[in-house]
Structures are given as C-alpha cells and as structure tokens.
C-alpha cells in the first residue's frame, strides 16, 4: 500500500502558487466544515459519521435531531437536518415528545457524557426503558470539555481532571458509570453499541454501528443507542497527537468497544 503524504510547503518565502482547496470532505448535511472546537477534538468526526449515516440511509427529509448542551452544541445550528435544541441532559425527553407527535419521523439525540451520564441520567434510562423508538448518540470523552476539563460520571479511574488533580480515585470520587452497559441491560433497548473515532478502523466500525442504530429505529424495533468515544486532548491535558493512543490505553479498558446488544446478537445467542 503506497502511503500518501501532502507536500511540505516552505514558509521561508512567498508562496510559489495560489492556495486552493483540494477537496471538501464536509458531509452534505453539515453546513460548514470549519469548526470552532479545539484541535484534535473527536466530536466533529462523530458528527460527520452521524450525518453521513443519515444521508446514506436517505433519512434526511424525515430526521429531527435533538441536541444537548456541550462542545458539540456548536453543530446544532450548523446542520442541514431539522434540529430542536434542548437543555443540558433533557434531550431524550424532548426526543420522546417529537417522536410521539410525529411517529413517522426519525428522531436522534446528540449528547455528551456530562449531558447524558451526569445531568440527564434518568432521562436516557427512562426513555430506553419506555422503548421509545428514538436513537441516542453519546459522544463520550470522559470529561466536561466545555468547562475546561472537569470530572464527569464517565471519567475513568486514575484520569486527571481539574477537580481530580491526582487522578480520579474510587475512594474519593466513586466509580465511573459504564453507561452503554447500563442501558443495554434495560428491556426496552433493541440496540446498544460502543465505538470510537480515534483510528480509521474505529471510525469505519462506528459508522456501521450508527447506521445499524438508525435502521433499528426505522424498523420500529425499540430504543437504539451508540456511544462514541471521542478524543479531548484539551480536557485530558495531553498533546493533541497523543490523544488517539491515550483513548486506547486509558479510556477503552473501562468503556470497551463493541456491540453490546443487538437483535442479531440475540438471535445468535439462541442458537
């Protein structure tokens, strides 16, 4: 396999040729590709996956996305699907109201771990238990990124944050909630999976999970959920380039990759 490298541009003198856009990888359903999130943030990649999946499944004209509050809220007015912006933690209930009023629509939420696992834990659990035919996407970076790197309920043991300076300890701060597994244990849940956006392989796997979850909603099989582990080098206080590896080494051992529950897996287990 030949490796593609971009040419190195010398900055010691004026440019030899005018700048030009080689390609625009912005999905059709995201209005502007440029974002104001930090370098190395995984959330724009996760948003790209979700929007590409909506487009490829031809769901754009029946989708309503309900946003929580976090860094990713920067996308709530940057999408070409209809959006209802909700409060911190409350989007699963708002999504419930939209879906019950419009049963033919495809309703998804975009939430972070601070939003879903801290502020709105009961909302997502009740929505899952009610088997609402909505899809909740959790962008989990294990930290409150927007406030500058504070502990969430999903922060793994040992992780340093601004209010766990010596690392999260079970004795002082309790244990992380492994939300995907918690949700998967509820009877109303048809599909639960955990992916990540730290490598191209994981991005591809996660996109399949996102598509499966949306199709499960379209088929009316029940509540579907995809947790997407995202990098937050700013909130993890590490170099941008180290974040993908840090996710594998520190976050994944607690929040394990893989499909946790699916109708297909249930059928397989029976045989």
């Amino acid at each position: 396999m030949t490796e593609r490298r971009l040419p190195i541009l010398h900055t010691s003198g004026p440019p030899q040729r005018p700048a030009k856009l080689i390609d625009d990888f912005t999905p059709a359903l995201i209005n502007q590709g440029a974002h104001h999130l930090c370098p190395g943030c995984g959330e724009p990649v996760a948003m790209r996956l979700i929007m590409e999946a909506v487009e490829e499944l031809k769901l754009a004209q029946r989708t309503v996305a309900v946003f929580g509050i976090g860094c990713y809220t920067a996308y709530s007015n940057n999408l070409d699907v209809e959006v209802v912006q909700a409060l911190h933690g409350r989007s699963p209930s708002v999504a419930t109201g939209v879906k019950r009023a419009l049963p033919g629509s495809v309703v998804l939420t975009v939430q972070g771990d601070g939003d879903m696992v801290n502020e709105g834990l009961q909302e997502v659990l009740h929505t899952a238990a009610r088997a609402e035919k909505v899809t909740c996407f959790l962008l989990n970076n294990g930290v409150f990124g927007e406030t500058g790197g504070h502990m969430t309920a999903a922060t793994v043991l040992g992780q340093r944050t601004k209010n766990t300076l010596d690392g999260r300890s079970a004795e002082q701060h309790g244990y992380p909630i492994v939300i995907g597994d918690l949700i998967a244990g509820l009877a109303g849940v048809a599909y639960a999976a955990r992916g990540a956006v730290n490598t191209h392989t994981n991005v591809a796997r996660t996109k399949r999970m996102v598509k499966d979850a949306l199709q499960i909603q379209v088929k009316g099989l029940g509540f579907s959920f995809v947790e997407i582990l995202t990098m937050c080098p700013t909130g993890w206080f590490i170099e941008t380039g180290e974040a993908p590896e840090y996710l594998d080494e520190h976050i994944e051992p607690t929040h394990r990759f893989g499909v946790i529950k699916s109708p297909v897996a249930a059928v397989k287990r029976q045989h």
């Binding site: 989708t63 070409d80 999504a95 419930t96 939209v98």
Partner: protein, 363 residues
Amino acid sequence: MSAVRERQFLEGASAIGSAMVAAGCRFFAGYPMTPFTEVLESMAKLLPAVGGTCINAESELEAIGMVWGAAATGTPAATGSTGQGLSLMQESLAEITYARLPLVVLNMARAQGDYFQATRGGGHGDYRHIVLAPCDVNEATVLVQEAFHLAATWRNPVLVMGDYYIAHTWQTVDVAPIDFGPTPPTDWAVDGSTGGSGRAKLISPLGDTKRTDDVGYDLAEFYHRRGRELDVMAATVPPRAEAVFVDDARLVAVAYGTVAKYVRQAVYDLRAQRLPVGFIRPITLFPFPTQIIRDAAAHADAFAVYENNRGQMVEDVQLAVLGRADVSSIGGLSMDSSGFGIAPDLDVATVRTRIRTALEALA
C-alpha cells in the same frame, strides 16, 4: 368532534381535561401530584380516544421535556403540576419561552403561594408567561380553551392557575369548543421535511440563526429580540378584571382565583348594609390589570388585598396604585394539616369582618 353543545356534570379536573381536548390539545404529559393528579387521569382517558398522546412521565423534568418536543412539532400540548412540581420545571419553562414555543401549563396550586412563581417566572432570565386565573370550574373551562388560543397566537407558554377547589368541585359545565378566531400558521414547526434543503428548520432557545447566516448563534442579538417580542405581547394582550361597585367605593377589596368568590360575596353583603366597599378580581395575573386598579385609585381611599398567602399580589396592587391610596393585606396563610389549600379562613363571615375592619380603620 361533535359541534353540539355538550353540557355535562363534571368534577373540575375532568372539566379542565375536556376543555383542553375541545381546544385541540393532542399531547399531554404529567407526573401525579394532588390536586393535579386528577387532570392527568382525565387526559389519560380522553386523549387516546381522539388520537392524542398522554404520557405518565417519570418526573416533572421528563414531563416538561416531552411537551417541549411535542410543541416543537406544532402539536397543541400541555402539562402542569402543583407549584411544587412546577418548581422542577422552571429551567425548561424559561428556555421553552426563549425557543418561542406555544404551551399550556396548569398550576393546580395548593393555596395561593405560587403567585410570584407564576407572574415573575420561577426560572432564569427575562421572560414572561401570560397567566390566567379562573375563579370557578365554569370559568376554568373557558380560560383553559383561551389559553391554547393565546399560546398559539403568541408562540409563548400560557399558565392557568387552578387550585384544590377548582380541581374537586363538581359543576355542570359546557365543554364544547369555543372559537376564539384564527391563529398564525405553524410553519415554524419541525417535521423533518426541510432536511437537505439547505434551510433546515431550527428551534432553539439560543437563537434561530444558522452558521450559514454568517454569525450563527448571537445570544446578545437574540435575547434583545426576544425581549422586544415579549414587550409587544405584554402590551397587546388585554389585561382583564372583574370590577364591582368600584365607582363610589372608599375601600376596594382585591382578590383572585377561588378565594375571590368569597371576597366578592362579602363585598355584596357589606354593600347591602350600605357600606362603601368595592371589589376587583384580576383575571389575567400577567398582564396585570394595572390601569383598572389605578383608575379605581382615583377616587378610592384604600385597597385591601385578600390572598391565601403571606402577601404576594399585594405588591402588584401597590405598584398599580403608586401611592394614590393605602394598600393593605387582609389575607394570610390558611390551610389544614394536608397543606393542599383547604382554607378554614375561606368563610364569607370571616372575610366580611376583615374588610369591615379595614374600612373602619379609614375613618
């Protein structure tokens, strides 16, 4: 829906439920709490029969979130609780107002301690809700229907103040739909269909401009604009009050809700004894009938405000009178051990004595 006038003997809570369905309400979510519980029960029976949805939410937080979502689709939606449950909903109620969504909220209150919560807004920021205060079941069935019309007209939450008496009194009421006239189109509502058009709809308490509009969310611009819209609403919705014997009264008694019925009867009794007393009952608590009270202050010497709380609406009466007459509070907390708002002081003879005492203090 049948257009036939439907007179039925109903408990207040059921009458309110029937009125909501008659007004077009098709989505209701709530969490049981006396005396709101009975309204929720009524909606759970009525809504499925007309193709609507009623959800017994897991908490008030879920209930207000669900109606937020339903309202965003343009479906006439309502929720409610007692003041205690509404306290839990305040964060969402504030943001729903910024997001310009029509919604009807019932406060089946315990006593009258929620006046500040209702009229000042228990939540954050500079927002306003229209607040209607019926005094009996009949008026409640009319005002509840009007609440849906006002909510749709102004794309704003409208609060209806009920109480334990209104919830539980049986009365013969007319629950046929009332035509309040046309409302603006709901072309702002989401249904998914504008996705991929380049101008997909956005309903957000942070603003309605998108990144493609150059600036994206501009909270400063948006909050100023919402403020101006709320000013227009406050200046346009006509304040309403019932006024009796005000023209030649030395002392005007002021009260709202169920309590006002007792005060009104006491004023009638005192007038029969040729005492110069009058009565004003605010029907809209926001916008408050300031001018109606101010006009009465041109010739009345004093206002006596009767509330079943430690004195809340009395501040609005003082602001209306602006020193032109004395304003005193002659009500006070009155409840049994349940705290539900069954008031031993709600007795016409007791109220009559307090008004007479206030009148005698003038001489």
